[in-house]
């Protein structure tokens, strides 16, 4: 147990430290990378909670897939530094008040959740009940929570179709501007993915 406790503190320190640094330092690319570090620290904590499946999914989905997109956006927007906003809506008294209230509400919620955790019927480190094995997760998803699962799938599908439609409309407009044949989708797509975005994003550097 002692070893696991040490590991817990190591991973917790990684998660908290990197998360703090995400907010504190000003280079967006570093922020993205530190957030990945934070996700990996969290994945380590999941392993300690006997949930290796959740840990690996955390790395694949968050640290792998989503953060790659974040990194791309930040890199191609080419913003080397965040500007410190000294005026406008972010500095107004109303923003500060609402922010402070949200922070207090969050702290209260955290305290409530932590207080409640000691009264749970069982703890996550209880090895005899392992609700996190892959077959068990599958069974729960497709039996107990089938409706929520399918509803989420449809939501994601709708978002995906929306994204494709938006991107597709821009593509055809771009093609019309350059008086290219609109039917030649594969060539246009290849050009966008490779040359167009890359040179457009990097030209300012």
């Amino acid at each position: 147990m002692g070893f696991e406790l040490i590991l817990f503190y190591v991973f917790a320190a990684i998660a908290i430290g990197t998360t703090l640094l995400v907010v504190v330092q000003s280079n967006p690319v570093y922020s993205v990378l530190l957030l990945i570090g934070s996700f990996i620290g969290l994945a380590g904590l999941y392993v300690l909670l006997q949930a290796p499946f959740v840990a690996v999914i955390q790395i694949i989905v968050y640290a792998g897939a989503i953060m790659v997109l974040f990194l791309f956006v930040v890199m191609l927007l080419n913003a080397p530094r965040e500007e410190l906003v000294t005026s406008g809506i972010l500095e107004s008294p109303a923003t500060r008040t609402i922010g402070a209230m949200l922070a207090i509400a969050f702290a209260a919620e955290l305290a409530w959740a932590l207080n409640r955790s000691s009264t749970l019927a069982w703890t996550v480190t209880d090895v005899t009940r392992r609700p996190f094995s892959v077959p068990e997760i599958g069974r729960r998803l497709f039996q107990d929570y089938a409706f929520a699962f399918e509803a989420t799938s449809i939501l994601i599908l709708v978002a995906m179709i929306g994204a494709i439609t938006l991107a597709g409309r821009q593509l055809t407009e771009g093609a019309r501007l350059k008086s290219r044949p609109a039917g030649d989708a594969s060539r246009t797509d290849g050009g966008m993915a490779e040359g167009g975005r890359a040179e457009g994003g990097r030209a300012q550097l």
Binding site: L33, P52, V68, S186, E194, A198
Partner: protein, 354 residues
């Protein structure tokens, strides 16, 4: 490599499983480094033979010490960095690449359980960690490897590097899907995500002489896995990230000396890892006819060696695709094929109990 595996265990001489595990960790590290050097030699030799040349012959017998000379040459070079590069990320990128390559091997088993001829109290598996989400782990680490390349391209602040990095990440993200679908078909067949259990599901033979390897049940899956594996490791004919005629050297254009060597190392270790995983998942790992189980690592090495040779062979035989062809192939052919393969496999397991 193989006899050294047993010697490494014997040298420990302490009947403690924990120490044996540590020895295996160190051993895998050293073997991977050696394998990368060996692969450089093999690549040059095979390339030379394919082009009717001799390849390296001067350093050592048959030029065998050539990789050592290469390493010394690389280490002696000046480590340059472009003035406008981001210093921290520029240094970090090759480290991420190499670390991700090594990490993938943590879940790859390379032999049956052994107690090293009674030296240990209980048998240890020839593997660093037998986790029950091993296949997903391989997948997760592959997605981490993208960062090394993207960061290298971006932090170099050079357009060739950035173009190479963008191509590479687009390629890796596209082919990761087919890669994952092929892996999913195997885990449906084996009913487990632990690579060791998948290998053990392939023990024995049909009709007494056909080994029960998944490659016979999953020929399409094997094809998809190897194709996506080549694309994931950025090797020819999918080596767009460094297409030298177009991009100088792609994402590692600005790198020199040991930081370049780390990218090189990562590429070869990734090749070894993909070959090792393919031989475990499709070619029965250490199971094979003729040899007893405790000599199974010989089968494993033979299979990995064959796949690595295949990799090199392919590189020097096939010309590079065009970039849009690569993307169209990945999305319009390989991905639908892998989905059909997964559905057919699942249906086969569900209704016919394969």
């Amino acid at each position: 490599m193989a006899p050294a595996s047993r010697r490494a265990g014997e040298r420990a001489l302490i009947p403690s499983v924990a120490i044996a595990q540590l020895v295996i960790v160190g051993f895998v590290f050293v073997v991977l480094l050696t394998a990368a050097a060996g692969m450089v030699y093999m690549e040059r030799k095979v390339a030379a033979r394919i082009q009717q040349r001799m390849g390296p012959t001067l350093v050592g017998p048959y030029g065998l010490l050539q990789p050592l000379a290469d390493i010394i040459k690389l280490a002696m070079k000046e480590d340059t960095r472009p003035k406008a590069a981001d210093p921290i990320l520029f240094a970090l990128a090759p480290i991420i690449s190499a670390a991700a390559a090594f990490t993938a091997f943590a879940v790859v088993p390379f032999g049956a359980e052994t107690d090293f001829f009674g030296l240990l109290d209980q048998p240890v598996p020839l593997q660093i960690a037998d986790v029950n989400v091993a296949i997903l782990w391989v997948f997760a680490v592959a997605s981490m490897g993208v960062y090394g390349i993207v960061l290298a391209g971006w932090s170099s602040n050079s357009k060739y590097s950035l173009l190479g990095a963008l191509r590479s990440s687009a390629q890796m993200i596209s082919y990761e899907l087919s890669y994952g679908m092929a892996l999913a078909a195997v885990l449906v067949l084996a009913g487990s995500m632990s690579i060791r259990e998948i290998v053990d599901a392939q023990a024995g033979a049909w009709l007494g002489f056909i080994p029960r390897w998944f490659v016979f049940l999953q020929p399409i899956g094997f094809f998809i896995f190897m194709t996506a594996g080549v694309a994931e490791t950025n090797r020819a004919p999918f080596d767009f990230p460094e297409a030298e005629q177009e991009l100088v050297a792609g994402y590692h254009t600005e790198y020199s000396s040991m930081s370049f060597a780390m990218f090189f190392l990562a590429e070869y270790i990734n090749m070894v890892a993909v070959s090792a995983i393919a031989s475990n998942l499709y070619l029965g790992g250490w199971h094979g006819p003729l040899l007893p189980l405790w000599l199974g690592w010989i089968w494993f090495l033979l299979k990995v060696g064959f796949l690595l040779f295949f990799y090199v062979w392919m590189r020097w035989t096939l010309p590079r695709y065009r970039y849009d062809q690569l993307m169209a192939f990945g999305w319009k052919f390989l991905l639908p094929l892998s989905v059909i393969n997964l559905l057919a496999t699942a249906a086969g397991v569900l209704y016919f109990g394969i």
